[in-house]
């Protein structure tokens, strides 16, 4: 007896976006699907990709990370090589957090030099993140755009600075990550603004702001689902691959507190906390995950089905 499954057909398709690689590297292409995630239906030409974060500036590492990525703190190029080489990260998110005045205030030219260094250390695709300080970023993004000798993505463009970020990206052939604070409408608005500037849709990723497990993950989950459903239903401004940072998972006390005896081993728990955050993002429809724990690259890739 055969049962007719009510498999939804969607009129829309997510734009395929490629994060270019350097010579000898493997570019990452995500998007291109016309169906919901994880399911063997419709077309999924590209699997979601798992990458890792490389950052400048001080970061207090929880126990689960201290032993793994700890030794690379302060050496972005070595960290990048390790992530892409040994840990299997398909792309890198290079956060220039160290340029923030409150995080040591590295100079803009220093930030740009780090970008150059990382790009020559590995051919893996790179997304470069600003430091989050509006005024510093206003100088940093143009400098990075110019310093990057191969195409990267700049993260992130938001309503306040999109002209500047997208302008810098356009001038040097980079892509952008469009950011909005857990709000589907603001996500769409950002993409319409970018489109008004003539930014090519196949060079845009959506960062919906990822809440960590236990701390707002559910809002992100639903926003990703809605962005994806809207994109598949034909809303072109939302038909973009979605990028999730799992870093917020490490802000949770549950991921870092070694003192709670009944919570189990803090290393395992921390890893699981990030992994669970990532799995929820994948279930909702995320296309790119940025994780911190090396073992989660493989773990999460285990659910990155096509």
């Amino acid at each position: 007896m055969s049962v007719a499954l009510p498999i939804p057909g969607f009129p829309g398709r997510i734009f395929a976006v490629t994060l270019p690689a350097g010579p000898g590297g493997t570019p990452v292409t995500v998007g291109g699907q016309n169906a919901l995630p994880l399911l063997p239906e419709g077309e999924h030409p590209n699997a979601p990709a798992v990458g890792m974060e490389v950052r400048t500036g001080p970061l207090e590492l929880p126990p689960a990370l201290a032993g793994t990525i700890g030794p690379f703190a302060g050496n972005p190029a070595a960290m990048a090589r390790k992530c892409a080489g040994d840990w299997g990260a398909r792309f890198l998110f290079l956060s220039l957090a160290g340029c923030h005045p409150d995080a040591g205030g590295q100079s803009v030219s220093f930030g740009a030099a780090v970008v150059r260094e990382v790009l020559s250390a590995t051919p893996a695709p790179v997304i470069v993140g600003g430091c989050g300080d509006e005024e510093v970023d206003a100088l940093l993004f143009p400098a990075v755009a110019e310093a990057a000798l191969r195409p990267v993505f700049l993260s992130y463009a938001e309503e306040k600075n999109y002209r500047l970020v997208a302008g810098a990206a356009l001038a040097y052939g980079h892509g952008v990550v469009s950011w909005s604070p857990i709000d589907i409408n603001m996500a769409k608005q950002m993409n319409l603004l970018l489109a008004d500037l003539g930014f090519p849709p196949d060079r845009v990723l959506i960062d919906p702001l990822t809440g960590g497990l236990g701390y707002g993950m559910e809002y992100t989950f639903s926003i990703i689902e809605r962005i994806r459903l809207a994109g598949l239903s034909g809303d072109a401004a939302l038909a973009r691959p979605v990028l999730c940072h799992l870093g917020d998972a490490w802000k949770a006390r549950e991921a870092t507190d070694a003192s709670e005896g009944t919570w189990g081993d803090v290393d395992a728990r921390g890893r699981r906390w990030e992994e669970t955050t990532g799995l929820a993002c994948l279930a909702a429809g995320a296309d790119l995950l940025v994780c911190r724990h090396p073992s989660n690259v493989a773990r999460l890739s285990g659910a990155a089905w096509r």
Binding site: V3, I7, L39, L213, G214, E218, L229, D265, L279, A280
Partner: protein, 450 residues
């Protein structure tokens, strides 16, 4: 398709007679459309309306209960495919397994471990819901004794994973606790009979959706009515696909033959059970059986479940309290706003942009914006003064000057009067904060004496 309020209105008498307790027929139609009222409350409704509306109101996915009393576990009874469409009502139930062939000591310590899988998070208790008792001994007596012991030790309802013989013995010993009978596929017939006789829930296991069609029909034929469908996947990927399609068949196709809560046994060598469990919590698993009793596994899974099964219509709120922005000192400005998350994000961003380190007080107003909260009487001179006194900001700064959102400048007098703090009226618009903060003379935040 669900009927809209206007569709329903057209079926009503349109007399606004108010017998239903609503002010107009349209109001009543909106209540029905939202699932908050039933047509029975409208005495003058026609038979046609009654018939059409009760058919539309029946839940697409039936409810199955396991256990009794406080620990009762409810599966199914969902109405939507995506939580943002309304909400998910019944969280994925999580069972941790135990084998009946363990030594008494091991058995007891495992039960104790299971009992400890219960955590306090954001004011809620999140716990493993059931104990899944695996029959590994093949011995009916032993299995029945184990069931009784597990019940006694944990108080949690049971999933009885056992062949017909031991299953019958355990039911004999533990039926009033309303366990879920989970026989292997080959023992479906006797177990279904048992479930029918004892009016107990039955987990029907068969390979895939096609297999379930046959097996569920057989269970129904044997008189078992409270059913849970286990499509027995071999990989996590298959599990997600089966779970999704079972839920779609119930909600989109209204296929009564397959509309049952789903169950998955992720133990006994199932590949990557943790990954499968996390995905099934997100995607339509109604009951999961896990072999792991490691809190490092269960705490994240239970937290994910807690997150995804909250009502998405609750406004996004920020935890109230004192938030440092930059590295504020004892003479840094103190600002206040409400705990609606967008308000918080905006104000925070603008204060950061000012590059003036500051203390940001987030008041608890149930996630309303400043003006809404003020209009609703939640953001008042009284509540703000209370917060100033109770949140510990007095120890963090030596001055007593508060910057109040310009939109509620009217509160300043009352705050000054009640709290003894001086109030500076900030700008109307958060976006003007950077220039406002930079212009403030440092003298505004000198320590108070006496």
């Amino acid at each position: 398709m669900a009927l809209t309020a206007i569709d329903i209105y057209k079926l009503l008498p349109k007399t606004n007679c108010r017998e239903c307790g609503q002010s107009t027929c349209l109001a009543f139609a909106m209540q029905i459309a939202a699932g908050k009222a039933s047509i029975d409350l409208c005495p003058p409704a026609s038979d046609e309306a009654r018939e059409k509306l009760s058919a539309a109101a029946a839940p697409p996915l039936p409810k199955v209960t396991i256990g009794t009393g406080e620990r009762e576990v409810v599966l199914g009874d969902e109405t939507v495919l995506f939580r943002h469409e309304k909400t998910f009502y019944h969280p994925t139930a999580i069972a941790v397994s135990i084998r009946d062939d363990a030594s008494d000591e091991e058995f007891a310590s495992r039960l104790a471990a299971i009992r400890r899988l219960s955590f306090e998070r954001v004011g809620q208790r999140i716990s493993v819901d059931l104990v899944a008792l695996r029959c590994a001994s093949g011995n009916a007596d032993r299995y029945a004794r184990a069931a009784v012991a597990a019940l006694a030790a944990t108080g949690l309802p049971l999933v009885l994973l056992a062949p017909a013989g031991p299953l019958a013995a355990a039911v004999e010993a533990a039926a009033p606790s309303r366990p879920l009978l989970a026989p292997p596929p080959e023992d479906l017939a006797p177990a279904a009979k048992l479930a029918a006789e004892r009016k107990l829930p039955l987990q029907v296991r068969a390979r895939g959706i096609e297999g379930l069609t046959v097996a569920l029909a057989a269970a129904r034929a044997a008189g078992a009515l409270s059913l849970v469908a286990d499509p027995s996947p071999e990989t996590p990927r298959e599990a997600v696909s089966f779970a999704t399609n079972l839920r779609r068949l119930a909600i989109l196709s209204r296929n009564r033959d397959l509309a049952y809560p789903s169950a998955f046994d992720l133990g006994g060598g199932f590949p990557d059970p943790f990954l499968a469990a996390a995905l099934l919590v997100a995607k339509y698993g109604s009951l999961l059986v896990l072999d792991s009793a490691d809190p490092a596994d269960l705490l994240p899974l239970l937290t994910l479940r807690q997150n995804l099964f909250t009502d998405p219509q609750r406004p996004i709120q920020v935890e109230p309290g004192v938030y440092p922005i930059g590295a504020p000192s004892e003479s840094s400005p103190v600002l206040i706003t409400t705990n609606f998350s967008l308000t918080y994000f905006t104000v925070r961003g603008d204060v950061e942009a000012a590059k003036v380190p500051a203390h940001l007080l987030i008041a608890d107003v149930d996630g309303m914006s400043v003006l809404t909260a003020w209009a609703a009487g939640k953001f008042t001179g009284e509540s703000i003064s209370k917060m100033l006194a109770g949140c510990g900001i007095g120890e963090k700064v030596t001055h007593r000057t508060l910057i109040l959102p310009g939109m509620v400048a009217r509160l300043s007098g009352r705050i000054e009067e009640l709290s003894g703090w001086r109030v500076l009226v900030g700008p109307q618009e958060s976006s003007a904060l950077p220039s406002y903060l930079r212009r403030l003379p440092p003298a505004a935040f000198l320590p108070v004496h006496g």
